[in-house]
C-alpha cells in the first residue's frame, strides 16, 4: 500500500489542504472545472483557485440552496462545478436542491462538504456535521467519498473530477496524520486493506482511520487487527467488506459521524443481508457534539486510539 514507513511519527496536514491543492491542479488541466462557493472560499481552501482562475470562480454569498442550483445549471451546460461549503450547510441546508436539481438530474456536480465531525472542534455542535454521510448515502446516483488524509484527499479530488456524475466529498478541518504517500494507490469504490489481521476487522473512514492504525499497532502480538479504509462509502466495496467479515468474524466500524446511517449503517446493512457478523459501531451515539479541541473531543467520545483499543478488547 506504500504507506509512510514510520506510522507513529508523521507529519500533519488537513484533508481540506489536499483538496485545495488538487483544485489548483484541476483548474490548470481542465478548463471546464468551476468552483462555486457560499462565502467560505478561504476556509475551504479554494482561495488559491480563485486567485489563479477568477473567471471560473463563482461567489454566491451566504446562499447554499442557490449555490447547489447554480452548480446544477453549470453542469447542465457542460461545466464541472465543485459546490464548496461547510457540510452542515452543504448538504445540510440544501439537501432538497441536491436531491432534485443534482442527483435526480444526474448533473455532474461535485458537492464538497468541509468541517465534518466533532473534530471541527471549538466552533461547537452547530458546525460539526455528523449526519452528512446519512443524508447523502440515501440518495440515488450519488457517490460518497471520505478521504482519510491529505494525500488521499488530493487523489480523491482528482478522481471525482474525472468521474461522470454527482459526488459528495467529505472533508475535515484540523491537521490530521499523513500516513499515505503520493505513491499509495487510490481507486474510487475500492476499499483499502491497510493492515492485514485475523482476529477483528476495523472498517474506518476519514481521519479516524489513523486512530484505528495506531490501535492495531499498539495491540500487535496480542490481537491481530485488520484495518480497512472505506474511503468510498457509496458505492460500498461489498466484496471486501464481506470477505474480511468471513475471515475475522468480528467487526468494528469507526467514523466521526452519527452511528446511525453512516459508515456503520452501510456496513451493517450489507453484512445483515450477506453475512451476519458480530459488530460494534463506533461514532457519535445519537448525540450532538460540543466545543473543545479536536483531540479532547475524540477522547471524550471514545473515538481516539484508546477508545478503539477498549472496544477491541471488549469484542474479542
Amino acid at each position: 500500500m506504500n504507506l509512510v514507513s514510520d506510522i507513529i511519527n508523521v507529519e500533519r496536514k488537513a484533508t481540506r489542504e489536499g483538496f485545495g491543492e488538487a483544485m489548483v491542479l484541476l483548474g490548470r488541466s481542465d478548463k471546464n472545472v468551476v468552483v462555486v462557493t457560499a462565502d467560505l472560499g478561504e476556509s475551504m481552501r479554494v482561495d488559491e483557485f480563485e486567485k489563479q482562475y477568477p473567471e471560473r470562480f463563482v461567489q454566491v454569498g451566504v446562499a447554499e440552496q442557490n449555490m447547489m442550483g447554480i452548480s446544477a445549471g453549470l453542469a447542465l451546460s457542460g461545466k464541472i462545478p465543485f459546490a464548496v461549503s461547510y457540510a452542515v450547510f452543504n448538504p445540510g441546508r440544501n439537501w432538497d436542491q441536491m436531491r432534485v436539481s443534482v442527483c435526480y438530474t444526474n448533473a455532474n456536480v461535485k458537492i464538497v462538504g468541509g468541517h465534518t465531525g466533532i473534530s471541527v472542534g471549538p466552533d461547537g455542535a452547530t458546525h460539526q456535521a455528523l449526519e452528512d454521510i446519512a443524508m447523502t448515502r440515501a440518495l440515488p446516483n450519488l457517490m460518497v467519498v471520505a478521504p482519510a488524509d491529505f494525500e488521499q484527499a488530493k487523489k480523491a479530488t482528482m478522481a471525482i473530477a474525472k468521474h461522470k456524475g454527482p459526488v459528495y466529498l467529505r472533508l475535515t478541518r484540523p491537521k490530521t496524520a499523513m500516513f499515505t504517500t503520493s505513491t499509495t494507490p487510490f481507486e474510487l469504490g475500492k476499499a483499502q486493506v491497510l493492515r492485514v489481521g485475523k482476529d477483528v476487522t476495523i472498517f474506518a473512514c476519514g481521519g479516524l482511520v489513523y486512530e484505528a492504525l495506531l490501535a492495531a499497532e499498539e495491540l500487535k502480538g496480542e490481537v491481530e487487527v485488520e484495518v480497512i479504509n472505506i474511503h468510498t462509502i457509496k458505492p460500498l466495496d461489498e466484496e471486501t467488506v464481506v470477505r474480511s467479515a468471513k475471515k475475522t468474524g468480528k467487526i468494528i466500524t469507526l467514523e466521526d459521524h452519527q452511528i446511525n446511517g453512516g459508515l456503520g449503517g452501510a456496513v451493517a446493512e450489507v453484512l445483515g443481508e450477506k453475512w451476519p457478523t458480530k459488530m460494534v459501531r463506533m461514532g457519535m451515539r445519537d448525540s450532538f457534539g460540543e466545543s473543545g479541541e479536536p483531540e479532547e473531543l475524540l477522547a471524550k467520545y471514545g473515538l481516539d486510539k484508546d477508545g478503539v483499543i477498549k472496544v477491541i478488547r471488549k469484542i474479542i
Binding site: 445549471g73 451546460s77 435526480y104
Partner: protein, 277 residues
C-alpha cells in the same frame, strides 16, 4: 406567419385533454400561460432544433414552476419534439411525461427516457430559478450567444431561494437571462394576497437588480414586444411580470384557485373543450 392566438388555443385544448385522461395534475397555471408558450415555440422567440433537442447553441427554456408542465409538454409536442399522441401518457406508468418535468443526464440503468426539449427537473419551487442562473453563467463564461428564459410562478416569489438566485443574476450581470413571472394571483391553498402577499413585487425585483417589465401575459403582441425591449439591456437580467388569468379560456375555471391543482372530470372537460372551440 403562425397565428399565435390559434396556437395558444390548440395548446389549451391539448392541456385539457391530457389532464382529463391523467385524472390529476394542475390546470389553471398551464391554461393561463398558453399564450406565452405559443409565443416561445411558434412566435420565433427562441432558437431550437426539433431533430437535435440538445443542440449546443439552442436557447434554454427553464420551467421552474414544474407543476405547469402540461403546457410545456403540449407546446413541445405541437412544435414537433415528440408525437402529440404521446400527450395521452401524461402521469401514466412508464411515461416520459412525468407528473413534474425531468431532465436527466443519461446513465446505465436509468429507468427514465428523456423527453426531448425539457431543460430542468422541476417541481420544488425556487430550484429552477437557480438552475437558470447557473446556465446563464456558463453561457456568459463561454461567451455564447444563446439565452435562458426561466418561467417562475408568483407564489414562487415566496420562496427564499428565488431571491438568492435573483441577486446572483444581478451580481454577474446576466443579460442573457430573462425571468418570466406568471402573476395569476392564485396558489394551491387560496388567493396569493391572502396566503402570503408578495407586493410590492416590481419594487422588490428592481431593488434586487433586475430590469423589470410588466405586461398582460394573455396578449401576444405584448409578449413579443417585451422580449424586443429586453434586448436594449444586454448586461442586465430581465424580469417580466406577466399578468395572466388563471384558467384562461375556460370561463368556469378563470380566476378560481380551486383549479390550481386539480384536473377536469370528463364532463367538465367536455364543457371546457366546447368553450375553447
Amino acid at each position: 406567419m403562425v397565428d399565435l392566438v390559434d396556437k395558444a388555443r390548440e395548446i389549451r385544448v391539448e392541456v385539457i385533454k391530457m389532464l382529463t385522461l391523467a385524472e390529476s395534475g394542475h390546470t389553471a397555471g398551464p391554461l393561463g400561460t398558453a399564450d406565452l408558450f405559443a409565443a416561445l415555440y411558434f412566435g420565433g422567440l427562441i432558437n431550437f432544433k426539433i431533430d437535435e433537442p440538445y443542440w449546443d447553441d439552442r436557447d434554454r427554456v427553464v420551467l421552474s414552476c414544474g407543476h405547469y408542465c402540461p403546457v410545456q409538454y403540449a407546446a413541445l409536442a405541437l412544435a414537433g419534439f415528440f408525437p402529440v399522441e404521446e400527450l395521452k401518457t401524461l402521469r401514466k406508468l412508464g411515461t416520459r411525461l412525468q407528473g413534474h418535468p425531468v431532465r436527466q443526464i443519461d446513465f446505465p440503468g436509468s429507468n427514465y427516457k428523456q423527453l426531448p426539449g425539457i431543460e430542468n427537473t422541476g417541481g420544488p419551487l425556487g430550484q429552477g430559478v437557480s438552475v437558470a442562473v447557473g446556465m446563464a453563467l456558463a453561457g456568459k463564461m463561454d461567451k455564447k450567444k444563446w439565452k435562458v428564459i426561466c418561467i417562475d410562478s408568483d407564489a414562487e416569489q415566496q420562496e427564499g431561494q428565488t431571491w438568492e438566485a435573483y441577486q446572483t443574476a444581478a451580481k454577474y450581470g446576466l443579460g442573457n437571462l430573462t425571468f418570466v413571472i406568471d402573476r395569476n394571483e392564485i396558489q394551491i391553498s387560496g388567493n396569493l394576497g391572502e396566503v402570503m402577499p408578495i407586493e410590492p413585487l416590481r419594487d422588490k425585483l428592481t431593488a434586487f437588480g433586475l430590469r423589470v417589465f410588466e405586461i398582460n401575459g394573455n396578449n401576444h403582441e405584448e409578449i413579443m414586444a417585451v422580449f424586443e425591449q429586453g434586448k436594449l439591456f444586454p448586461d442586465q437580467p430581465k424580469a417580466v411580470i406577466m399578468k395572466t388569468v388563471a384558467g384562461k379560456g375556460v370561463g368556469f375555471m378563470e380566476g378560481d384557485f380551486r383549479w390550481h391543482g386539480k384536473a377536469p372530470t370528463s364532463e367538465e372537460a367536455e364543457k371546457a373543450l366546447w368553450e375553447l372551440k
